[in-house]
């Protein structure tokens, strides 16, 4: 199929429609506004539901309701709005409902800035709301990957009956790139026989709830949902490496999303400017995180250090340290609050680490 030029936010919205999204519940916040705008026009044209909610809190609870009724439901927002959705995301995880949530993240804390940021890594990968739960987190680095991941997200949410978060940033949402709409294989998914759709002759009523009032029952439920996360770690890990195989890199840049693209260029700059061979490890699933895969690369002879490169003050670096686990020194380079690291900044920092100038 021919390539088409799409804006990130609009492409993500269209991808959701193509993935069979039944309903979208949104609320305005920059830099994700083109998603609800696109949905408001196109969902009704497909006979699907669009509602502009009164708040992010209401939007995620509309998602909860539609998901409880067995529908493919989605919402999108940006960082401060995603914070407001955490209540609902916790309930969705607790009630074991599938849902897709887009975070076009921006700089914080608080109102922060509308510029791109990766400061929501902790919130995204550690559950975000109350209780022992996780969302599956997918981090695209391009519009094409965002489009592919959004479509996968609906299947993954249904497969695990768990919320799936697309963690992108304002850069991915606002830029335009050529993309290809791929033919997607149909995936066999479990029936939604738990949904509150009306009994229609069913012997017992379905009661979708996150309430487990008896502590032993609640513990069993926690153990059960944890087992789903273990299964995700076995079956759903996604990552990409560049310059790691057969090229004996001295240094590994670990980076996701927008900063991973900056790291591509930084790898070339390191080679040309400093004669340093660098590799890139790019996790695509941030939860589950590809710990073992990064550990193996960091353990190779010749690797002098691993640097986590982020648009934050150092969040994914915690997972990088857990992954590397002493196999090599781990350093951090980041810009925060909506500032984007330049290729030279990343390359110069990496070179200083190789030369032993930067503290661990």
């Amino acid at each position: 199929m021919a390539k088409e030029l799409w804006k990130g936010n609009e492409a993500i919205a269209e991808a959701a429609i193509r993935a069979g999204c039944d309903c979208f519940f949104g609320y305005p916040i920059t830099p994700q506004n083109e998603i609800p705008e696109y949905m408001s026009l196109h969902m009704p044209q497909h006979g699907k539901v669009f509602v502009q909610a009164e708040s992010e809190v209401a939007a995620i609870n509309m998602v909860y309701g539609a998901a409880a009724a067995g529908k493919r439901a989605m919402t999108s927002s940006s960082s401060p709005g995603i914070s407001l959705k955490q209540e609902g995301i916790s309930y969705i995880a607790g009630a074991e409902l599938p849902a897709v949530i887009i975070n076009m993240s921006r700089g914080g804390p608080g109102l922060g800035t509308i510029q791109a940021s990766q400061a929501d890594y902790f919130q995204s990968t550690r559950g975000g709301g109350n209780g022992d739960y996780r969302t599956m987190v997918l981090a695209p680095q391009s519009i094409q990957e965002a489009v592919d991941l959004v479509q996968d997200a609906f299947d993954l949410a249904d497969k695990y009956r768990n919320p799936v978060l697309i963690l992108a940033d304002g850069m991915i949402g606002q830029m335009m790139e050529p993309i290809e709409w791929k033919q997607r294989p149909s995936v066999e998914l479990p029936p939604k026989d738990w949904a509150a759709t009306g009994r229609h002759g069913r012997e017992k009523n379905n009661f979708v709830t996150s309430l487990r009032i008896d502590a032993p029952d609640c513990e069993l439920h926690n153990v059960h949902i944890q087992s789903k996360y273990d299964r995700m770690a076995e079956e759903e890990l996604r990552y990409e490496t560049i310059g790691c195989d057969g090229q004996e890199p001295e240094i590994i840049l670990a980076s996701y999303g927008t900063t991973a693209r900056i790291c591509w260029s930084a790898i070339n700059r390191l080679e040309r400017k400093y004669g340093i061979k660098a590799g890139l490890f790019r996790p695509i699933t941030l939860f589950p995180f590809p710990y073992d895969q990064l550990h193996q690369i960091a353990s190779r002879p010749g690797v002098k250090a691993v640097i986590s490169v982020e648009m934050s003050q150092g969040q994914m670096v915690d997972d990088v340290k857990l992954a590397v686990n002493g196999a090599a020194p781990v350093h951090f380079f980041g810009r925060a609050g909506g500032s984007i690291p330049t290729v030279d900044e990343v390359a110069d920092f990496a070179a200083s680490v190789v030369k032993g100038g930067a503290g661990k």
Binding site: D22, C23, F25, V49, V51, A53, E54, S55, V57, A58, A59, N61, M62, V63, Y64, G65, A66, A67, A68, A69, K71, A73, E87, G88, Y91, A95, A196, T197, G198, R199, H200, G201, N205, N206, F207, V208, T209, S210, L211
Partner: protein, 244 residues
């Protein structure tokens, strides 16, 4: 022998956890009878609140979804918009609906969402142990208003029926109580009318039930029902507040 009274098929065969003298059981019964009489037990979806009604999905026989505190109207919106042929109703207390969920109920009414809300107003937080609600009467004591509600400090109680009736999407609002048999019969009529209007796709329908909470009011059942018919009904007038 012909039975003169049987339990509604709209109720599950289980014990309720409600305190003696609490109005929830009566309202559950009226909803159950309504679902049965309109033949919608098999198609309806109930949205439960946080509060004493949190277990309602274990008592009523239709499918149910438990919402976060105050969010039932948003959850109901998500269901009704995607399943427009299904009867959908929320069951919410006054802390849930009139305090933490005020935005959700106002905007569901504004949009004219085609579901029904049964609003249980007992002027107190029941489940958490008798704290002050937005509906607590002036002078009424609560565990967070030990000297009684004061106008200067807490403001005047909120009248939800009247407030929501200013919104075009609301087609029916009636305030009822279940403090004695004649009022129970009227309450049943109101609940059935609300569901009927929903089935006719008319718009948002709202029934407020003045309810007794003898436990948290520290009253006997008889005194509690006198309180409903006296000071409560005086501040919250019974009857149809709006019908389009």
């Amino acid at each position: 022998m012909k039975p003169v009274y049987v339990k509604s098929k709209g109720l599950q065969d289980t014990e309720l956890h409600y305190c003696p003298g609490c109005s929830h059981g009566i309202v559950h019964k009226l909803i159950a009878e309504t679902l049965e009489e309109l033949n919608i037990i098999d198609t309806s979806v109930l949205i439960c609140p946080v509060g004493c009604g949190v277990f309602a999905g274990n008592y009523l026989a239709c499918d149910a979804v438990e919402a976060a505190h105050g969010r039932a109207p948003a959850v109901a919106t998500g269901i009704k918009r995607t399943c427009p042929d299904q009867p959908v109703f929320t069951y919410q207390g006054d802390g849930d609906l009139a305090s933490i969920g005020i935005a959700e109920i106002v905007h569901a009414a504004m949009r004219g969402e085609k579901f029904t809300t049964i609003f249980i107003n007992n002027g107190i937080y029941g489940m958490t142990g008798g704290q002050m609600a937005p509906t607590t009467l002036i002078g009424q004591k609560a565990t967070t208003a030990p000297l009684g509600r004061q106008k200067e400090l807490h403001g005047e109680p909120i009248r939800m029926c009247e407030m929501l009736s200013s919104l075009g999407g609301l087609v029916y609002a009636e305030r009822v109580c279940v403090a004695d048999v004649p009022h129970i019969i009227k309450a049943k009529r109101a609940i059935k009318k609300a569901f009927t209007k929903q089935l006719n796709n008319e718009g948002f329908t709202f029934v407020e039930v003045l309810a007794a909470c003898p436990t948290n009011w520290a009253m006997t059942t008889r005194k509690a029902n006198e309180w409903v018919l006296g000071p409560m009904a005086e501040y919250y007038p019974l009857g149809v507040i709006k019908e389009v």
